[in-house]
Protein backbone atom coordinates (compact mmCIF):
# COMPACT_ATOMS: atom_id res chain seq x y z
CA UNK A 1 0.00 0.00 0.00
CA UNK A 2 1.11 3.55 -0.79
CA UNK A 3 2.75 4.96 2.33
CA UNK A 4 2.59 8.79 2.35
CA UNK A 5 5.40 10.54 4.16
CA UNK A 6 5.63 14.27 4.94
CA UNK A 7 9.35 13.89 4.62
CA UNK A 8 9.05 13.52 0.82
CA UNK A 9 7.66 17.01 0.51
CA UNK A 10 9.80 18.52 3.20
CA UNK A 11 13.01 17.27 1.69
CA UNK A 12 12.16 17.99 -1.96
CA UNK A 13 12.19 21.76 -2.57
CA UNK A 14 10.74 21.44 -6.10
CA UNK A 15 7.76 19.37 -4.94
CA UNK A 16 7.23 21.70 -1.97
CA UNK A 17 7.12 24.70 -4.32
CA UNK A 18 4.61 23.13 -6.68
CA UNK A 19 2.29 21.95 -3.91
CA UNK A 20 2.47 25.31 -2.08
CA UNK A 21 1.48 27.15 -5.25
CA UNK A 22 -1.35 24.70 -5.80
CA UNK A 23 -2.73 25.26 -2.28
CA UNK A 24 -2.51 29.06 -2.60
CA UNK A 25 -4.14 29.11 -6.03
CA UNK A 26 -7.18 27.23 -4.71
CA UNK A 27 -7.65 29.95 -2.07
CA UNK A 28 -7.12 32.64 -4.70
CA UNK A 29 -9.56 31.05 -7.11
CA UNK A 30 -12.33 30.94 -4.50
CA UNK A 31 -11.85 34.67 -3.84
CA UNK A 32 -11.25 35.86 -7.39
CA UNK A 33 -13.51 33.68 -9.55
CA UNK A 34 -16.78 35.22 -8.27
CA UNK A 35 -15.58 38.63 -9.50
CA UNK A 36 -15.95 37.39 -13.06
CA UNK A 37 -19.63 36.72 -12.41
CA UNK A 38 -20.24 40.00 -10.61
CA UNK A 39 -22.15 41.60 -13.50
CA UNK A 40 -25.42 39.92 -12.60
CA UNK A 41 -25.35 41.36 -9.08
CA UNK A 42 -24.88 44.93 -10.32
CA UNK A 43 -28.32 46.51 -10.44
CA UNK A 44 -29.52 48.03 -13.70
CA UNK A 45 -30.32 51.61 -12.69
CA UNK A 46 -30.39 54.92 -14.52
CA UNK A 47 -28.23 57.85 -13.61
CA UNK A 48 -24.94 56.33 -12.46
CA UNK A 49 -22.06 57.94 -14.33
CA UNK A 50 -18.30 58.25 -13.90
CA UNK A 51 -16.99 61.28 -12.00
CA UNK A 52 -16.47 64.61 -13.72
CA UNK A 53 -12.84 65.80 -13.80
CA UNK A 54 -13.38 68.11 -10.80
CA UNK A 55 -15.16 65.42 -8.78
CA UNK A 56 -12.40 62.99 -9.69
CA UNK A 57 -9.73 65.31 -8.28
CA UNK A 58 -11.93 65.75 -5.20
CA UNK A 59 -12.02 62.00 -4.81
CA UNK A 60 -8.23 61.87 -5.07
CA UNK A 61 -8.00 64.42 -2.25
CA UNK A 62 -10.53 62.41 -0.24
CA UNK A 63 -8.15 59.48 -0.50
CA UNK A 64 -5.01 61.54 0.03
CA UNK A 65 -6.35 62.96 3.30
CA UNK A 66 -7.38 59.49 4.42
CA UNK A 67 -11.07 60.30 4.86
CA UNK A 68 -11.81 56.60 4.30
CA UNK A 69 -10.05 55.76 7.56
CA UNK A 70 -12.98 57.17 9.51
CA UNK A 71 -15.80 57.39 6.97
CA UNK A 72 -17.42 54.51 5.12
CA UNK A 73 -19.38 54.92 1.92
CA UNK A 74 -21.81 52.07 2.15
CA UNK A 75 -25.24 52.16 3.70
CA UNK A 76 -26.10 48.61 4.67
CA UNK A 77 -29.67 47.31 4.30
CA UNK A 78 -30.57 47.82 7.96
CA UNK A 79 -33.49 49.88 9.17
CA UNK A 80 -31.46 52.10 11.50
CA UNK A 81 -29.00 52.91 8.72
CA UNK A 82 -31.78 53.69 6.25
CA UNK A 83 -33.39 56.03 8.79
CA UNK A 84 -30.17 57.91 9.36
CA UNK A 85 -28.48 57.85 5.96
CA UNK A 86 -31.13 57.01 3.36
CA UNK A 87 -31.59 54.21 0.85
CA UNK A 88 -29.12 51.34 1.14
CA UNK A 89 -26.20 51.54 -1.27
CA UNK A 90 -26.33 49.67 -4.55
CA UNK A 91 -23.44 47.86 -6.19
CA UNK A 92 -24.24 49.90 -9.29
CA UNK A 93 -23.46 53.12 -7.46
CA UNK A 94 -19.81 52.22 -7.02
CA UNK A 95 -19.30 50.53 -10.39
CA UNK A 96 -16.94 53.31 -11.54
CA UNK A 97 -15.01 53.50 -8.26
CA UNK A 98 -11.38 52.37 -8.46
CA UNK A 99 -10.81 51.67 -5.65
CA UNK A 100 -14.25 51.70 -4.02
CA UNK A 101 -14.63 53.49 -0.68
CA UNK A 102 -17.10 51.13 1.04
CA UNK A 103 -15.09 50.65 4.19
CA UNK A 104 -16.23 49.20 7.50
CA UNK A 105 -14.68 51.67 9.93
CA UNK A 106 -17.02 54.38 11.08
CA UNK A 107 -15.47 56.83 13.48
CA UNK A 108 -17.46 59.44 11.59
CA UNK A 109 -20.80 58.96 9.85
CA UNK A 110 -21.27 57.15 6.56
CA UNK A 111 -20.92 59.49 3.60
CA UNK A 112 -22.53 57.43 0.83
CA UNK A 113 -25.47 59.88 0.57
CA UNK A 114 -24.02 63.04 2.05
CA UNK A 115 -24.46 64.87 -1.28
CA UNK A 116 -26.89 67.78 -0.94
CA UNK A 117 -27.50 67.13 2.75
CA UNK A 118 -25.56 70.22 3.80
CA UNK A 119 -24.79 73.47 1.99
CA UNK A 120 -21.43 74.14 0.35
CA UNK A 121 -20.73 76.74 3.05
CA UNK A 122 -21.28 74.16 5.73
CA UNK A 123 -18.91 71.72 4.04
CA UNK A 124 -16.21 74.38 3.73
CA UNK A 125 -16.59 75.60 7.32
CA UNK A 126 -16.78 72.05 8.65
CA UNK A 127 -13.78 70.73 6.73
CA UNK A 128 -11.69 73.73 7.76
CA UNK A 129 -12.66 73.49 11.43
CA UNK A 130 -15.12 70.69 12.24
CA UNK A 131 -15.75 71.78 15.82
CA UNK A 132 -17.01 75.18 14.67
CA UNK A 133 -20.04 73.36 13.30
CA UNK A 134 -20.27 70.17 15.38
CA UNK A 135 -18.90 70.87 18.89
CA UNK A 136 -18.58 67.19 19.84
CA UNK A 137 -16.72 66.21 16.65
CA UNK A 138 -13.35 64.44 16.83
CA UNK A 139 -12.54 65.06 13.16
CA UNK A 140 -9.19 66.74 12.47
CA UNK A 141 -9.03 70.22 10.91
CA UNK A 142 -8.14 70.43 7.23
CA UNK A 143 -7.34 74.15 6.95
CA UNK A 144 -5.00 73.75 3.98
CA UNK A 145 -7.76 72.65 1.60
CA UNK A 146 -9.03 76.20 1.03
CA UNK A 147 -5.48 77.55 0.77
CA UNK A 148 -4.00 74.95 -1.59
CA UNK A 149 -4.51 75.65 -5.23
CA UNK A 150 -5.80 72.57 -7.03
CA UNK A 151 -3.21 70.85 -9.16
CA UNK A 152 -4.94 69.43 -12.20
CA UNK A 153 -2.02 69.40 -14.61
CA UNK A 154 -2.21 65.61 -14.89
CA UNK A 155 -6.00 65.26 -15.02
CA UNK A 156 -5.89 63.68 -18.49
CA UNK A 157 -3.46 60.99 -17.31
CA UNK A 158 -5.60 60.26 -14.28
CA UNK A 159 -8.63 59.78 -16.49
CA UNK A 160 -6.65 57.66 -18.95
CA UNK A 161 -5.57 55.30 -16.15
CA UNK A 162 -9.17 54.86 -15.09
CA UNK A 163 -10.15 54.34 -18.72
CA UNK A 164 -7.68 51.46 -18.81
CA UNK A 165 -9.53 49.81 -15.93
CA UNK A 166 -12.83 50.10 -17.81
CA UNK A 167 -14.27 53.45 -16.75
CA UNK A 168 -15.88 54.93 -19.90
CA UNK A 169 -13.94 58.17 -20.17
CA UNK A 170 -13.73 58.91 -23.89
CA UNK A 171 -10.53 59.49 -25.83
CA UNK A 172 -11.79 59.01 -29.37
CA UNK A 173 -14.81 60.28 -31.27
CA UNK A 174 -16.43 56.84 -31.36
CA UNK A 175 -16.01 56.44 -27.58
CA UNK A 176 -17.58 59.87 -27.14
CA UNK A 177 -20.52 58.85 -29.35
CA UNK A 178 -20.99 55.71 -27.26
CA UNK A 179 -21.10 57.87 -24.13
CA UNK A 180 -23.71 60.16 -25.72
CA UNK A 181 -25.87 57.07 -26.29
CA UNK A 182 -25.24 55.75 -22.81
CA UNK A 183 -25.30 58.88 -20.65
CA UNK A 184 -26.70 61.68 -22.83
CA UNK A 185 -24.80 64.52 -24.48
CA UNK A 186 -24.33 66.67 -21.38
CA UNK A 187 -22.67 63.92 -19.33
CA UNK A 188 -20.71 62.60 -22.32
CA UNK A 189 -19.19 66.06 -22.65
CA UNK A 190 -17.88 65.83 -19.06
CA UNK A 191 -16.35 62.40 -19.69
CA UNK A 192 -14.27 63.50 -22.65
CA UNK A 193 -10.57 63.30 -21.79
CA UNK A 194 -9.40 65.96 -24.32
CA UNK A 195 -11.86 68.47 -22.75
CA UNK A 196 -11.05 67.55 -19.14
CA UNK A 197 -9.13 70.68 -18.23
CA UNK A 198 -11.76 73.00 -19.72
CA UNK A 199 -14.60 71.09 -18.03
CA UNK A 200 -12.84 71.09 -14.66
CA UNK A 201 -12.34 74.84 -14.73
CA UNK A 202 -15.90 75.47 -15.90
CA UNK A 203 -17.45 73.31 -13.17
CA UNK A 204 -15.30 74.87 -10.45
CA UNK A 205 -16.19 78.37 -11.58
CA UNK A 206 -19.92 77.85 -12.00
CA UNK A 207 -20.20 75.78 -8.82
CA UNK A 208 -17.91 78.02 -6.75
CA UNK A 209 -17.94 75.35 -4.07
CA UNK A 210 -15.48 77.03 -1.71
CA UNK A 211 -17.17 80.43 -1.84
CA UNK A 212 -14.08 82.03 -3.36
CA UNK A 213 -14.47 82.55 -7.09
CA UNK A 214 -10.92 83.80 -7.49
CA UNK A 215 -9.04 80.52 -7.75
CA UNK A 216 -9.68 76.79 -7.89
CA UNK A 217 -8.74 75.30 -4.55
CA UNK A 218 -8.55 71.72 -3.36
CA UNK A 219 -11.66 72.57 -1.35
CA UNK A 220 -13.56 73.24 -4.61
CA UNK A 221 -12.77 69.73 -5.80
CA UNK A 222 -13.47 67.97 -2.50
CA UNK A 223 -16.81 69.73 -1.92
CA UNK A 224 -17.84 69.06 -5.55
CA UNK A 225 -17.15 65.39 -4.90
CA UNK A 226 -18.95 65.30 -1.53
CA UNK A 227 -21.98 67.10 -2.91
CA UNK A 228 -22.59 64.48 -5.62
CA UNK A 229 -22.14 61.43 -3.41
CA UNK A 230 -25.22 59.21 -3.54
CA UNK A 231 -27.26 61.65 -5.60
CA UNK A 232 -27.07 59.95 -9.01
CA UNK A 233 -29.87 57.42 -8.64
CA UNK A 234 -33.40 58.75 -8.31
CA UNK A 235 -34.96 56.15 -6.04
CA UNK A 236 -38.44 57.59 -6.48
CA UNK A 237 -38.44 55.97 -9.91
CA UNK A 238 -38.11 52.48 -8.46
CA UNK A 239 -40.33 50.29 -6.32
CA UNK A 240 -39.09 49.72 -2.79
CA UNK A 241 -38.38 46.07 -3.59
CA UNK A 242 -36.90 46.66 -7.06
CA UNK A 243 -33.43 45.65 -5.89
CA UNK A 244 -34.33 42.54 -3.88
CA UNK A 245 -33.86 40.19 -6.82
CA UNK A 246 -30.18 41.07 -7.20
CA UNK A 247 -29.30 39.43 -3.89
Amino acid sequence: MFNFKHEWIETNIGLLLVLTMLAISIGGLVEIAPLFYIKNTVEKVDGVRPYTPLELRGRDIYQREGCYLCHSQMIRPFRDEALRYGHYSLAAESQYDHPFQWGSKRTGPDLARVGGKYSNEWQVAHLTAPRSMVPQSVMPNFPWLVKNELNFSDIEDRMKSLRDTGVPYSLTKSEYDDNVKKFGAQTAEMLSIPDARKNLIAQAQSGNYDGNSGSISEMDALVAYLQMLGTLVDFRKYDDDAFVKYR
Binding site: H6, N40, L83, Y118, A125, V134, R236, D241, R247
Partner: protein
Protein backbone atom coordinates in the same frame (compact mmCIF):
# COMPACT_ATOMS: atom_id res chain seq x y z
CA UNK B 1 19.59 21.34 22.92
CA UNK B 2 21.45 18.44 24.35
CA UNK B 3 20.47 14.86 23.69
CA UNK B 4 19.90 14.17 27.42
CA UNK B 5 17.44 17.06 27.73
CA UNK B 6 15.29 15.89 24.80
CA UNK B 7 15.10 12.43 26.25
CA UNK B 8 14.02 13.79 29.63
CA UNK B 9 10.89 15.38 28.11
CA UNK B 10 7.68 13.49 27.50
CA UNK B 11 6.77 15.26 24.28
CA UNK B 12 7.06 13.10 21.18
CA UNK B 13 9.08 14.16 18.16
CA UNK B 14 7.80 13.96 14.60
CA UNK B 15 10.14 11.06 14.07
CA UNK B 16 12.46 12.34 11.38
CA UNK B 17 15.84 14.00 11.67
CA UNK B 18 17.78 16.39 9.46
CA UNK B 19 21.52 16.88 9.43
CA UNK B 20 21.78 13.83 11.62
CA UNK B 21 20.35 15.22 14.86
CA UNK B 22 17.92 18.05 14.05
CA UNK B 23 14.51 16.91 15.32
CA UNK B 24 11.09 18.46 15.64
CA UNK B 25 8.61 18.19 18.54
CA UNK B 26 5.14 16.99 17.73
CA UNK B 27 2.58 19.08 19.65
CA UNK B 28 -0.83 18.36 18.16
CA UNK B 29 -3.62 20.93 18.71
CA UNK B 30 -6.18 20.02 21.42
CA UNK B 31 -8.84 17.57 20.31
CA UNK B 32 -11.70 19.88 21.27
CA UNK B 33 -10.21 22.54 19.01
CA UNK B 34 -9.89 20.11 16.12
CA UNK B 35 -13.53 19.02 16.42
CA UNK B 36 -14.67 22.65 16.69
CA UNK B 37 -12.86 23.23 13.40
CA UNK B 38 -14.59 20.25 11.76
CA UNK B 39 -17.91 21.48 13.15
CA UNK B 40 -17.48 24.96 11.66
CA UNK B 41 -16.63 23.39 8.29
CA UNK B 42 -19.90 21.48 8.52
CA UNK B 43 -21.78 24.69 9.43
CA UNK B 44 -20.29 26.41 6.38
CA UNK B 45 -21.68 23.65 4.15
CA UNK B 46 -25.12 24.05 5.73
CA UNK B 47 -24.84 27.82 5.20
CA UNK B 48 -24.07 27.34 1.50
CA UNK B 49 -27.18 25.21 1.17
CA UNK B 50 -29.44 27.62 3.04
CA UNK B 51 -28.38 31.04 1.78
CA UNK B 52 -27.14 32.77 -1.41
CA UNK B 53 -23.55 31.59 -1.82
CA UNK B 54 -21.87 30.37 -4.98
CA UNK B 55 -21.79 31.94 -8.41
CA UNK B 56 -22.99 29.43 -10.97
CA UNK B 57 -23.11 30.22 -14.67
CA UNK B 58 -25.01 33.47 -15.14
CA UNK B 59 -26.53 33.50 -11.66
CA UNK B 60 -25.82 32.20 -8.19
CA UNK B 61 -27.09 29.53 -5.82
CA UNK B 62 -29.97 31.11 -3.93
CA UNK B 63 -30.27 28.58 -1.11
CA UNK B 64 -33.28 26.75 0.33
CA UNK B 65 -34.33 29.29 2.92
CA UNK B 66 -37.07 31.74 1.96
CA UNK B 67 -38.51 34.98 3.28
CA UNK B 68 -41.88 36.66 2.83
CA UNK B 69 -42.36 40.41 2.86
CA UNK B 70 -45.05 42.89 1.91
CA UNK B 71 -43.93 45.44 -0.69
CA UNK B 72 -45.01 49.07 -0.89
CA UNK B 73 -47.96 48.15 -3.11
CA UNK B 74 -49.25 45.85 -0.38
CA UNK B 75 -48.46 42.64 -2.31
CA UNK B 76 -47.15 39.68 -0.37
CA UNK B 77 -43.97 38.33 -1.96
CA UNK B 78 -41.86 35.31 -1.17
CA UNK B 79 -38.28 35.08 -2.33
CA UNK B 80 -35.07 33.30 -1.42
CA UNK B 81 -33.64 34.60 1.84
CA UNK B 82 -31.50 37.71 1.39
CA UNK B 83 -30.64 40.81 3.39
CA UNK B 84 -32.57 43.20 1.16
CA UNK B 85 -35.80 41.22 1.54
CA UNK B 86 -35.17 41.02 5.29
CA UNK B 87 -34.69 44.79 5.30
CA UNK B 88 -38.02 45.25 3.47
CA UNK B 89 -39.73 43.01 5.99
CA UNK B 90 -38.32 44.75 9.06
CA UNK B 91 -38.86 48.21 7.63
CA UNK B 92 -42.46 47.48 6.73
CA UNK B 93 -43.17 46.08 10.18
CA UNK B 94 -41.77 49.24 11.76
CA UNK B 95 -43.62 51.46 9.30
CA UNK B 96 -46.83 49.60 10.10
CA UNK B 97 -46.27 50.21 13.81
CA UNK B 98 -45.71 53.93 13.23
CA UNK B 99 -48.45 54.26 10.63
CA UNK B 100 -51.34 55.09 13.00
CA UNK B 101 -49.33 58.02 14.36
CA UNK B 102 -47.99 59.24 11.03
CA UNK B 103 -51.43 58.99 9.43
CA UNK B 104 -52.80 61.01 12.30
CA UNK B 105 -50.00 63.57 11.86
CA UNK B 106 -50.76 63.78 8.12
CA UNK B 107 -54.49 64.25 8.60
CA UNK B 108 -54.41 66.56 11.64
CA UNK B 109 -54.03 70.32 11.14
CA UNK B 110 -50.90 71.80 12.77
CA UNK B 111 -52.77 73.64 15.52
CA UNK B 112 -54.60 70.45 16.54
CA UNK B 113 -51.39 68.37 16.77
CA UNK B 114 -49.99 70.49 19.57
CA UNK B 115 -53.26 70.23 21.49
CA UNK B 116 -53.41 66.42 21.35
CA UNK B 117 -51.08 65.29 24.19
CA UNK B 118 -50.42 61.80 22.76
CA UNK B 119 -49.75 63.04 19.23
CA UNK B 120 -47.67 65.93 20.53
CA UNK B 121 -45.40 63.64 22.53
CA UNK B 122 -44.93 61.43 19.44
CA UNK B 123 -44.06 64.46 17.34
CA UNK B 124 -41.64 65.83 19.91
CA UNK B 125 -39.71 62.57 20.31
CA UNK B 126 -39.71 61.72 16.58
CA UNK B 127 -38.90 65.34 15.75
CA UNK B 128 -35.94 65.34 18.10
CA UNK B 129 -34.40 62.38 16.25
CA UNK B 130 -35.04 63.93 12.84
CA UNK B 131 -33.65 67.27 13.98
CA UNK B 132 -30.48 65.67 15.37
CA UNK B 133 -29.85 63.67 12.20
CA UNK B 134 -30.60 66.39 9.70
CA UNK B 135 -30.78 69.90 11.11
CA UNK B 136 -28.39 70.02 14.07
CA UNK B 137 -25.28 70.13 11.86
CA UNK B 138 -26.11 73.76 11.06
CA UNK B 139 -28.75 74.90 13.58
CA UNK B 140 -26.91 73.07 16.38
CA UNK B 141 -28.29 70.64 18.93
CA UNK B 142 -31.37 72.22 20.46
CA UNK B 143 -31.79 74.71 17.62
CA UNK B 144 -29.75 77.54 19.13
CA UNK B 145 -28.27 78.41 15.75
CA UNK B 146 -24.80 79.60 14.92
CA UNK B 147 -23.74 83.21 14.72
CA UNK B 148 -22.73 84.07 11.18
CA UNK B 149 -24.04 80.81 9.80
CA UNK B 150 -27.49 79.52 10.71
CA UNK B 151 -30.33 81.31 12.48
CA UNK B 152 -31.44 80.59 16.03
CA UNK B 153 -34.72 78.66 15.93
CA UNK B 154 -35.57 79.06 19.60
CA UNK B 155 -36.25 82.81 19.58
CA UNK B 156 -39.30 84.49 18.07
CA UNK B 157 -37.38 86.25 15.30
CA UNK B 158 -37.99 84.65 11.91
CA UNK B 159 -36.37 85.54 8.60
CA UNK B 160 -38.94 83.65 6.55
CA UNK B 161 -41.84 83.59 8.99
CA UNK B 162 -42.56 81.52 12.07
CA UNK B 163 -46.02 80.21 11.27
CA UNK B 164 -46.43 76.48 10.67
CA UNK B 165 -46.90 77.00 6.93
CA UNK B 166 -43.74 79.16 6.68
CA UNK B 167 -41.61 76.64 8.54
CA UNK B 168 -42.98 73.78 6.43
CA UNK B 169 -42.11 75.71 3.24
CA UNK B 170 -38.61 76.38 4.51
CA UNK B 171 -37.96 72.74 5.37
CA UNK B 172 -39.40 71.46 2.10
CA UNK B 173 -37.73 73.79 -0.36
CA UNK B 174 -34.73 75.13 1.51
CA UNK B 175 -33.60 78.76 1.52
CA UNK B 176 -30.87 80.89 0.04
CA UNK B 177 -30.03 84.21 1.68
CA UNK B 178 -28.92 86.99 -0.63
CA UNK B 179 -28.04 90.64 -0.26
CA UNK B 180 -26.20 92.55 -2.99
CA UNK B 181 -22.78 94.04 -2.26
CA UNK B 182 -22.72 97.84 -1.98
CA UNK B 183 -18.97 98.36 -2.22
CA UNK B 184 -19.25 99.64 -5.79
CA UNK B 185 -22.50 101.53 -5.26
CA UNK B 186 -21.86 103.66 -2.17
CA UNK B 187 -18.93 105.73 -1.05
CA UNK B 188 -17.27 105.35 2.32
CA UNK B 189 -19.21 108.18 3.99
CA UNK B 190 -22.50 106.76 2.82
CA UNK B 191 -21.62 103.28 4.11
CA UNK B 192 -20.65 104.79 7.48
CA UNK B 193 -23.94 106.68 7.66
CA UNK B 194 -25.97 103.59 6.84
CA UNK B 195 -24.01 101.60 9.40
CA UNK B 196 -24.79 104.17 12.09
CA UNK B 197 -28.46 104.22 11.12
CA UNK B 198 -28.70 100.41 11.30
CA UNK B 199 -26.96 100.37 14.69
CA UNK B 200 -29.20 103.18 15.97
CA UNK B 201 -32.21 100.98 15.17
CA UNK B 202 -30.92 98.58 17.80
CA UNK B 203 -30.64 101.54 20.22
CA UNK B 204 -26.86 101.52 20.14
CA UNK B 205 -25.41 104.95 20.87
CA UNK B 206 -23.83 106.23 17.65
CA UNK B 207 -23.33 109.68 16.13
CA UNK B 208 -26.97 110.93 15.78
CA UNK B 209 -26.23 113.18 12.79
CA UNK B 210 -24.60 110.37 10.89
CA UNK B 211 -27.49 108.03 11.77
CA UNK B 212 -29.99 110.64 10.57
CA UNK B 213 -28.17 110.95 7.24
CA UNK B 214 -28.18 107.16 7.03
CA UNK B 215 -31.94 107.14 7.61
CA UNK B 216 -32.40 109.37 4.56
CA UNK B 217 -30.02 107.25 2.51
CA UNK B 218 -31.76 104.04 3.60
CA UNK B 219 -35.04 105.34 2.19
CA UNK B 220 -33.50 106.90 -0.94
CA UNK B 221 -33.15 105.42 -4.39
CA UNK B 222 -29.35 105.68 -4.04
CA UNK B 223 -28.98 102.88 -1.52
CA UNK B 224 -32.54 101.61 -1.82
CA UNK B 225 -32.29 99.47 1.31
CA UNK B 226 -36.02 99.92 1.92
CA UNK B 227 -36.89 97.83 -1.13
CA UNK B 228 -35.92 94.68 0.70
CA UNK B 229 -35.81 95.66 4.37
CA UNK B 230 -39.07 97.63 4.21
CA UNK B 231 -39.94 101.24 5.00
CA UNK B 232 -39.76 100.64 8.74
CA UNK B 233 -36.63 98.43 8.40
CA UNK B 234 -38.50 95.53 9.94
CA UNK B 235 -37.64 93.20 7.05
CA UNK B 236 -39.90 91.32 4.69
CA UNK B 237 -40.40 87.64 5.41
CA UNK B 238 -41.53 86.93 1.84
CA UNK B 239 -37.95 87.40 0.67
CA UNK B 240 -36.24 86.66 3.96
CA UNK B 241 -34.73 90.10 4.49
CA UNK B 242 -33.76 90.65 8.11
CA UNK B 243 -35.59 92.77 10.64
CA UNK B 244 -33.01 95.45 11.47
CA UNK B 245 -34.94 96.98 14.36
CA UNK B 246 -34.57 94.13 16.83
CA UNK B 247 -31.35 93.32 18.63
CA UNK B 248 -30.95 89.95 16.98
CA UNK B 249 -28.03 89.64 14.57
CA UNK B 250 -27.15 86.72 12.35
CA UNK B 251 -24.47 87.88 9.93
CA UNK B 252 -22.89 90.87 11.64
CA UNK B 253 -21.65 89.87 15.07
CA UNK B 254 -22.75 93.08 16.79
CA UNK B 255 -23.51 91.61 20.23
CA UNK B 256 -20.09 89.92 20.29
CA UNK B 257 -18.19 93.12 19.41
CA UNK B 258 -16.92 95.04 22.44
CA UNK B 259 -16.49 98.54 21.08
CA UNK B 260 -18.67 100.79 18.94
CA UNK B 261 -15.91 100.76 16.33
CA UNK B 262 -15.91 96.98 16.08
CA UNK B 263 -19.74 96.90 15.99
CA UNK B 264 -19.57 99.36 13.10
CA UNK B 265 -16.93 97.28 11.36
CA UNK B 266 -19.13 94.18 11.58
CA UNK B 267 -22.13 95.91 9.99
CA UNK B 268 -20.00 97.67 7.40
CA UNK B 269 -18.57 94.38 6.33
CA UNK B 270 -22.02 93.08 5.43
CA UNK B 271 -23.05 96.25 3.58
CA UNK B 272 -19.84 96.34 1.55
CA UNK B 273 -19.63 92.65 0.70
CA UNK B 274 -23.29 91.73 0.64
CA UNK B 275 -24.40 88.21 1.40
CA UNK B 276 -24.65 85.22 -0.84
CA UNK B 277 -24.90 82.53 1.76
CA UNK B 278 -27.33 81.26 4.30
CA UNK B 279 -28.05 78.34 2.01
CA UNK B 280 -30.39 75.81 3.51
CA UNK B 281 -30.81 72.60 1.48
CA UNK B 282 -34.26 71.42 0.37
CA UNK B 283 -35.46 68.39 2.29
CA UNK B 284 -38.49 67.34 0.28
CA UNK B 285 -36.52 64.69 -1.64
CA UNK B 286 -34.79 63.36 1.45
CA UNK B 287 -37.65 63.29 3.97
CA UNK B 288 -41.25 62.16 3.61
CA UNK B 289 -44.12 64.71 3.84
CA UNK B 290 -45.04 63.27 7.26
CA UNK B 291 -41.45 63.61 8.50
CA UNK B 292 -41.40 67.22 7.31
CA UNK B 293 -44.65 67.87 9.13
CA UNK B 294 -43.20 66.34 12.31
CA UNK B 295 -40.10 68.52 11.96
CA UNK B 296 -42.22 71.61 11.33
CA UNK B 297 -44.11 71.10 14.58
CA UNK B 298 -40.87 70.31 16.42
CA UNK B 299 -39.18 73.51 15.21
CA UNK B 300 -42.32 75.51 15.95
CA UNK B 301 -42.30 74.12 19.48
CA UNK B 302 -38.64 75.00 20.07
CA UNK B 303 -39.85 78.24 21.49
CA UNK B 304 -40.57 80.85 18.91
CA UNK B 305 -43.43 79.53 16.82
CA UNK B 306 -46.05 82.07 15.84
Amino acid sequence: MSQEKIQSQTVQTTGHAWDGDLQEYNNPIPTWWLYAFYFSVAVAVVYWLMYPAWPVGGGFTTGFDSITYVNDKGEKKTTHWNTRALFMKETNEAVAAQKPYLDKVASTPFEQITKDPELNSFVVSAGKQLFSDNCAACHQQGGGGKEGFAPNLTDDDWLYGGHFANIQQTVMNGRHGYMPAFADVLNDTQVNQLTDYVLSLSRIAVNPDSAKAGDVLFHSETAACFYCHGDNAEGRQVIGSANLTDRIWLWANVPGADTIASKEAAVKNVILGGLNKGVMPAWKDRLSPEQIKVLTVYVHELGGGK
